[in-house]
Amino acid sequence: MRASRVGAVVLRQIYLLRGSPVRLLPMVAWVAIDMVLWGFLARYLDQLTGPRANFTATLLGAVLLWDFLGRVMQGVTTAFFEDVWSRNFLNIFATPLRVSEYLAGLVTTGVGTSLLGLASMLLLATGVFGLDFLAYGAALVPFLLVLFVTGIALGIFGTSIVLRFGPASEWLIWPIPSLLSPFAGVFYPLSTLPRWMQAIGEALPPSYVFEGMRAIVAGGPAPWDKLAMASGLAAVYLALACLAFATVWRRAIRTGLIARYSAESVS
């Protein structure tokens, strides 16, 4: 893998972001709206129930972490969509760029844009609503790591779907975080769910993050063993997502879809 080629994919995204502030706005605007909405809701619930329940830490903290996962995923997929929207596949794939280098460029872009979103969320959540992000202690590191890797895996998997089914399948990608959130127990313990939903939730690495977060807020220790398992699970999903992309890419080369992508299919 050549860093300069990965850098070229990132450079293209930097040029686009620099040239169009409209691209920067959604990275901070939507998460800021979420922080404001859920921040006031948490404050109201704290007023109703007293500080013991600590809705700011459980509710607002959960929204922040879940939004972070969504930002990571969208950072990866949006970087890919830029090539879809500008019909750039032929130019970009008829070069020495390897699939791994292309994916690494998308992921690096996702890292940068999601960190921007995280910073703006933290600024609002801590500055306006008094969320103490450091109260999660050292567990914060695996929390963010698991969400980060899962977000990247979802992003790469999403790009595989769009590459396979064409530009119109974009709409399948955007709601993926919303689709997963009921199963991941973002706002409630997994035990609240019926057994079949719990089984799905247990297969989702973010579930362990939110269970751990609630355990810490309740005064318990961080579930390190489960967080380690969640990290391993996230790594497996990332590998599977990369495999899915490589498989779809090879198929697109075999069928000629890459060269005629705007047609959505070659049949």
Binding site: R12, Y15, N88, F89, V266
Partner: protein, 257 residues
Amino acid sequence: MPDHATPSSDAVLAAAGLCKTYGRRAAVDQVSLEVRPGEVVGLVGPNGAGKTTIINMILGVLQPTAGSIKIWGFDLARARSQALAVTNFAAVYAPLPGNLSVEQNLRVFGQIYGVKRLSDRIETVIEAYDLQAQRKAKAGVLSSGEQTRVALAKAMLNSPRLLLLDEPTASIDPATARDIRARITSFARETRAGVLWTSHNMYEVAETCGRVLFLSRGKVLLEGSPEALIAHSGAANLEDLFVEVAHEHPATGEAVA
């Protein structure tokens, strides 16, 4: 410029037994072709003859059903990245991203191709293709002729060993087209690069190409120098020969090719 350090073949491009089938229909059927160093080879034929399919296979964006492609000794199927590092292309249907400026596009693609001393090289190609006035403009706002010149500038960035040009002068005025033809033929002569050139302009092909392959229905029907083909067929010129061949072997008119 990239490090062109490990050549291992006399031909810049050696394609053997290329086939591409879609279901039961053959878009390209047993095509073999070579482009030697310093040679400009024309690939001509009616719409749907298989020219773009062949170009796409050589560019590694379409896998042949059968056959092999070697670019400067690198087997495309096994050493894709190395083969494509010494290749470049310009095609009328593949404009560079319109939301980046000319200079930004050249920088991004130059970095992908591993061009050394990239800033200097960008200046060289911008000057060569007369793009000084457009360098800061978004590629999407340029005229079609200017966009073609940008695509050609990109194609020259890595000083390719193999240059694929799919109707490169289709949107260009005659004076600029003549200038570009001269530039590309001298590029091939001076750098010993091979050029595979598709065009529907038979005067351009006759002027530029040392050897021509006539394709129809995915097969090579005729091959030779423009002069030899004209003399052998008895046609008045290459365009008449083209029309004659196209009438004798009409294309299927189907979408692929």
